[in-house]
Subunit: 349 residues, 2 copies
Amino acid sequence: KKLRVGMIPADGVGREVLPAAQRILEALGPSIPKPEFTHLDAGWEYFTRHGVALPEETADALQNDCDCALFGAVGSPTHRVTGYSSPIVALRKKLSLYANVRPVHSIEGLDPRPVDMVIVRENTECLYIKQETSSHSEENGREARATRLITERASKQIGRMAFRIALSRAKPDHPASLTIVHKSNVLQLTDGLFRECVRSVMKENEEWSDGSKIAVGEQIVDSMVYRMFREPEAFDVVVAPNLYGDILSDAAAALVGSLGLVPSVNAGDTFVMGEPVHGTAPDIAGLGIVNPIAAIRSAGLMLHHLGYIEPAQKVEDAVVSVLKEGVRTRDLGGNASTEEVVAAIEKRL
Amino acid sequence: KKLRVGMIPADGVGREVLPAAQRILEALGPSIPKPEFTHLDAGWEYFTRHGVALPEETADALQNDCDCALFGAVGSPTHRVTGYSSPIVALRKKLSLYANVRPVHSIEGLDPRPVDMVIVRENTECLYIKQETSSHSEENGREARATRLITERASKQIGRMAFRIALSRAKPDHPASLTIVHKSNVLQLTDGLFRECVRSVMKENEEWSDGSKIAVGEQIVDSMVYRMFREPEAFDVVVAPNLYGDILSDAAAALVGSLGLVPSVNAGDTFVMGEPVHGTAPDIAGLGIVNPIAAIRSAGLMLHHLGYIEPAQKVEDAVVSVLKEGVRTRDLGGNASTEEVVAAIEKRL
Ligand SMILES: CC(C)[C@H](C(=O)O)[C@@H](O)C(=O)O
Ligand SMILES: CC(C)[C@H](C(=O)O)[C@@H](O)C(=O)O
């Protein structure tokens, strides 16, 4: 048995962090099925050469020939470009990767404040359905409209994922907490539906609804960002519609060492794709100094979601000990190269 | 000549902080026209009794009998309530208060990090137009859609306001910076239009476009939240569509002492309404311990926008010296009451 991993480096530092993650997966040896990597194209740079940001072969290969995937990072044009559309947004939708799971935790002795949360972001709808139209009116000149979609199906699906994750974090003496983020004071129908659906799935499972295992609360998105910075220790699992989740995960990342440390998986019921939360970092791309840890952790998180719990833990332990030891890239105030960090982690596996 | 101020305390601590602001305006003496206050109803609590959140008389009185206004804070129902709609959102729209200006700055010796920025938030459109619909589909069950509107008119209007504010902050030896926040990598048409319109007004005024006075940049909203926490000193004037501006101003508030310090004005071409950025704080409402400073500063900011620059500065100076002296409410780690803070500020005017 093999583990067939689709590799989509896309743009910028995506091309440096994905090879790093590959080396770590290879270094895990027989604790996982032998990984087999398929390089797949996508991205802004690919678009500039071929006129398409997500070639059909890439989506086909992921669906037919891969067990899982890793995505690097995607650049964006600095002006409007007709026909261009973000390949990561398209992939999430195409592969029904309805959850974007983003754990953010501090490392004892390194970070000033204890943070240990998981952002569970709905990954297929909200403003990300990209239904936009343009028009013109006497009064306003040019006008543009976007549709924000929230559905019962997707909200319940992400709600279930959030409850499952919360339950897995509950301790015998301490319930996990689940915070539902919304803005239903303004968006009564859309965010109202999201909130109601997440709350409603609670009743589907006795362990979720029992109250001793998961304490459910909610926060309006603006005040959530405020509180996340003021009392990050108050939050555990956080579930949010797509755009709020996007913003909240960057906010949470700001609480720990660097965005270069924060991993994610795009998860569906039958496929999982790891993806560092950081972007293409054009200022340092190609210099060999990008922090590979977000991508390496994303590979670990991907293994975890596939059920390889122990190898996933091994990756995380190796990352933490390398960080504690002081092998750190620039974003963390160190001067290690990407290569040095990868080698140090490899050595610990 | 009088200064006719409409007072809309609305809910919760709004009813404590508005009287505080009133006392400060009264204490300013002849440096401003004698203020005359009209109490006006609105809010969630008012809705529960009268079935309407913003009575027509309130809007009428503001439009016909007031020179300016102060708004307290508005509560929100914890579940969906048919017919309820936020009165503050309605007022902004009705009075064409197209800009929400939210200065956030640290106080030397009190805050750990230097912060000095102004969030200029578009205040009438985006998802706040509240065009929402519900439907049902086989595939998704219940569905809800909201429309996000961005127009050339409003984007240029807020752009001009942002450039004016930036210019007023430029120093002979150091240009002001203006950061345009958007998510045009996903919302190409709506956020693309916003970005383009803000950039385009730059050309309307030589001082704006000259480059030595204002340096224009941009940030994607998620990375903006990250950077705001990592390098707040990098930002000066920040202009954003409505919802991003809402979130960013809470994020900025988290960088200084407390949300209880951060003021705003809702400003149009002919009317201005001060409003603290904080909410109703139901946990402490009625206890006489709420921080009145956000409301007091909002009154100062309102005076500033009306052209009473010196009295506005006097209010700000008094606030800062009281804070430095240690007369602080609980949110700032002190134990002063609302009354003690107001009295201390009064004494310094
Ligand atoms: C690149 C962009 C489309 C993407 C998003 O908004 O989802 C990114 O910010 C992320 O969080 O993965
Ligand atoms: C109460 C709410 C409608 C309001 C908003 O979202 O504008 C508040 O958060 C604010 O920032 O003034």
